[in-house]
């Protein structure tokens, strides 16, 4: 582990931090992402209303435009209200919570699964490698959004009808995670095969360390760089995948709307001129996806000395 900490320290002390301070794009992207993340995490504390508490809802407040007083109740909402009179700002904050949670959890799931399988395949080779990589080869021919939809459909079919809404978020995480693991597995496998032939692994083997200890203690820290980059770019992909699935009505349930669900609902009112119901969630989603994407791009360039 010393080598990882050392590397991390070196990286944080010098190049990465330096490059970060000099990149206005990275700084802006981080700021936007941090603001969105804070809004999501603290939503129950800082949101003006709890949009899912029936007690605070008043249907009379429906379709209030932003910054205008409602004609019946006289209440004013910063970003207006939706069809059911829910404060759009609050639903966005709660929706952001779902979107971010699903995105992060799916990426973690995909990364853990992919890294583990990649390590095993790269380290042991032989039939383990063949099986894992064949599955990856077949899966990678299909776009991951399609895989995610299929897995979602299958998992939904397997859960009992009454538990479906409750399980939807977890099913979503599972299906997005399963559709993205291949990229981690491929990268880690390649890196593992390179690391495996180096002397420090041979030394660890001679010292009679177990394969698991070598893989996770020695090889893993050395392949973390690419995994970090994949994870950041993967987060943007996962957020977009979640939004797409929810938009299509096969993701987050109406009881726990994510940004995609909000956009799905908002689209119905676009033609009536109630643009704010769709506009603000869409802009939020865009800001989230773009900031994570830019951060991933920047991280990839910063960690890859060849591109600098």
């Amino acid at each position: 582990m010393a080598s990882f900490n050392q590397r991390l320290q070196t990286a944080l002390d010098s190049d990465l931090a330096f490059a970060f301070k000099r990149s206005p794009v990275a700084m802006t992207a981080t700021t936007i992402f941090a603001l969105l993340a804070i809004a999501a995490v603290l939503a129950p504390l800082i949101a003006p209303y709890n949009p899912f508490d029936p007690a605070t809802l008043n249907l009379m407040n429906g379709f209030t435009p932003p910054m205008e007083a409602n004609e019946f109740t006289g209440q004013t909402f910063t970003l207006g209200t939706d069809d059911q009179g829910r404060d759009v700002l609050s639903t966005i904050m709660y929706g952001l919570r779902i979107s971010l949670f699903v995105g992060v959890a799916a990426v973690l799931f995909a990364a853990v699964l992919g890294v583990t399988l990649g390590l095993l395949a790269g380290y042991f080779g032989g039939w383990v490698d063949t099986v894992v990589m064949r599955i990856a080869d077949v899966q990678i021919t299909f776009p991951s959004i399609l895989i995610a939809m299929l897995i979602f459909g299958v998992a939904k079919g397997l859960t009992p009808v009454e538990a479906r809404d409750e399980m939807a978020i977890w099913v979503l995480i599972l299906s997005i995670g399963l559709s993205e693991w291949v990229y981690y597995a491929r990268t880690v496998r390649g890196a593992t095969m390179v690391e495996k032939s180096k002397e420090y692994v041979a030394a660890a083997r001679l010292a009679n360390r177990s394969p698991l200890a070598i893989m996770f203690g020695h090889v893993l820290p050395n392949v973390m760089g690419p995994v970090l980059v994949l994870g950041t770019i993967g987060l943007a992909l996962a957020i977009i995948a979640e939004a797409t699935l929810s938009y299509l009505g096969v993701g987050a349930p109406p009881t726990q709307p994510s940004l995609g669900t909000l956009i799905r609902v908002g689209q119905d009112y676009l033609f009536n001129g109630e643009w704010w119901i769709l506009f603000f969630p869409a802009v939020t989603l865009l800001a989230l996806a773009l900031s994570v994407n830019l951060l991933g791009d920047w991280l990839r360039d910063a960690l890859n000395p060849r591109l600098r």
Binding site: V138, T141, F142, P143, I145, L146, M149, L150, F152, G153, V154, K156, G157, L158, A236, I240, A243, T244, Y247, L248, G249, V250, I263, Q267, L270, F271, W275, L278, A282, L285, L286, A289, L290, N293
Partner: protein, 326 residues
Amino acid sequence: MLAFVIRRVLQALGVLLVVGFISFCMFQFMGDPVEGLLGQEATEEQRRELIERLGLEDPIPVQFVRFVGNAVQGDFGLSYRLARPVSELILERLPATLELAFVSAIIAMALGIVLGVFTAINRSGFAANFIMTASLIGVSLPTFLIGILLIYVFSVQLGWLPSFGRGETVEFFGWRSNLGSWDGLRSILLPAITLGLYQMTLIMRLVRAEMLEVLRQDYIRFARARGLSERAVNFGHALKNTLVPVVTVTGLQLGSIIAFAIVTESVFQWPGVGFLFIRSVEFVDVPVMAAYLLLIGALFVVINLIVDLLYFVIDPRLRSDRAGSH
């Protein structure tokens, strides 16, 4: 060459068999087909009879063989949701999807190659830089948001183009087409642009990168040294060499286009197989899901196969065993 083709075909069949097995498993282990078909109020007798007829008590391998046999003949059973043969449902909607995918692919390829070549040749120009920056933002945009944006601008605000459905279609030999009438063409425009935009940016970036790489090669310098015109160098030499990898990726993108058609069809309520599929996922309509999986699997495998063979046709170096090295 023959050995190569045979190997690729065998691989393709292998992948198809795997996909077939997955969709068979979906049939087998998801939900209760008897309940799906008869509903919960069926009598025990009806159930027995159906189980008998579907052969649900045969050994699994027998059932799998029967499933493959039926699938080859295009028989996927009845949709739980619509209670109609799945093959009929799919055949009805396939032309809409294929046509949408085809028009998008044409748009994506034409614009992608033109813009890619343009940005490569005028590498440091203002227009090229602007296009590259815009494409970066384009890649981050989710497809459905692009669709909504286009609807908002061209349907809601400007009122120029329809926002949903296929509009008027004309039938050619049993194929209902959008390309035969003005209304149909207007209807397909927005969905096709939405679907093609992402692929276009990909193709454009790829063409640009490949072209820049090729323009650095010695044979381009040599072509210039031989006094060929810039046009002959850029288009006769550089573009042709650029297209080798581009064909591969573009071919593979065709599969993605069909898959992403799910999203576009939902945004524009386009009556294609993608729309059918997403409703089947929503309602856990297993036969439709399984059939769609097989269909897409077959499409992907065939596309991959064609791309491999096309690669072979374009690049003479891969054909060297036929010509015989001297």
